[in-house]
Chain length 163, copies 2
């Protein structure tokens, strides 16, 4: 068990928004010098708190204009069926997110495609052919109002839940 203090949270919030911030800028932003910044980041990396640094692209400008939410129900909710569905889904680049859900339907997918034809192809030629898929229901996003990757960290610091 370990703790993160306010400064750690500040650092995480900075790097969440900007992966290329330099230690010097970061130090300035959190009112510290570069050395403790460096040490804190290193410690948090070793704890496995930092997953990945990625570049976000402009989907619209790249012609990826359709955001579709697809609800999938399986025929039987046995462990084996779930696992094979999850594996099948993870191969497809269109599938941005996938959640196993409570309620009537089993999975919720967010899929990004350039147009209806690509969606049709994904659903008919791929999704519907995965064994155990019983029903598929799509709903469309008219507009992406908000999309962010920065997690809501508590401002006061927190106790870590490490394995």
């Amino acid at each position: 068990m370990s703790q993160l203090d306010k400064t750690d949270i500040l650092i995480l919030n900075q790097i969440q928004e900007n992966a290329r911030i330099t230690h010097a800028e970061l130090a300035k932003a959190v009112n510290l010098s570069t050395t403790p910044c460096y040490n804190r980041i290193k410690a948090m990396e070793e704890k496995g708190l930092i997953k990945q640094q990625v570049t976000l692209l402009e989907a619209e400008k790249l012609g990826l204009t359709l955001n579709v939410f697809i609800h999938v129900t399986l025929e039987k909710q046995v462990e084996e069926a779930l696992q094979s569905f999850e594996e099948a889904i993870s191969d497809r680049p269109e599938v941005m997110e996938c959640y196993l859900m409570t309620g009537d339907e089993d999975y919720l997918l967010r899929v990004v495609v350039p147009n209806m034809k690509a969606l049709e192809k994904f659903i008919l030629q791929y999704l519907s052919k995965i064994p155990c898929v019983a029903s598929i229901r799509s709903s469309f996003a008219l507009k992406q109002v908000r999309y962010k990757t920065a997690l809501p960290l508590p401002e006061q610091g927190l106790t870590l839940h490490l394995d």
Copy 2:
């Protein structure tokens, strides 16, 4: 109007996965030298294709274990109501994603919170108090099967849709 060739797509795919890749590594990965890599990235930045470089954190280890999808319906779908709802929602750090949807319900939110108490607080003290909100329906993710930020780019290159 401009085009992206296969090499541009390769570069974008590399930086989508790794924001800190160096031009030297990138050059190696796409079979080029550093100069054209540098020039191509610069050109794509100027076209506004690259939005942001961010750090992804491990939500579970930070105690942010609840992913909740909240469906919101407004009393009336007039422009004004939509706009004020969207503004209100954009202030809240818990709201990771928000989409204006087709179908019976108006908005779909993905909210991340540490526990049920925080969810309750968000819904009762905040969401339900936004004017024009008629109904709220939540469903829970039992498991985040997949979450990625890398867009599915066509491998053969593409024509850009610039303003």
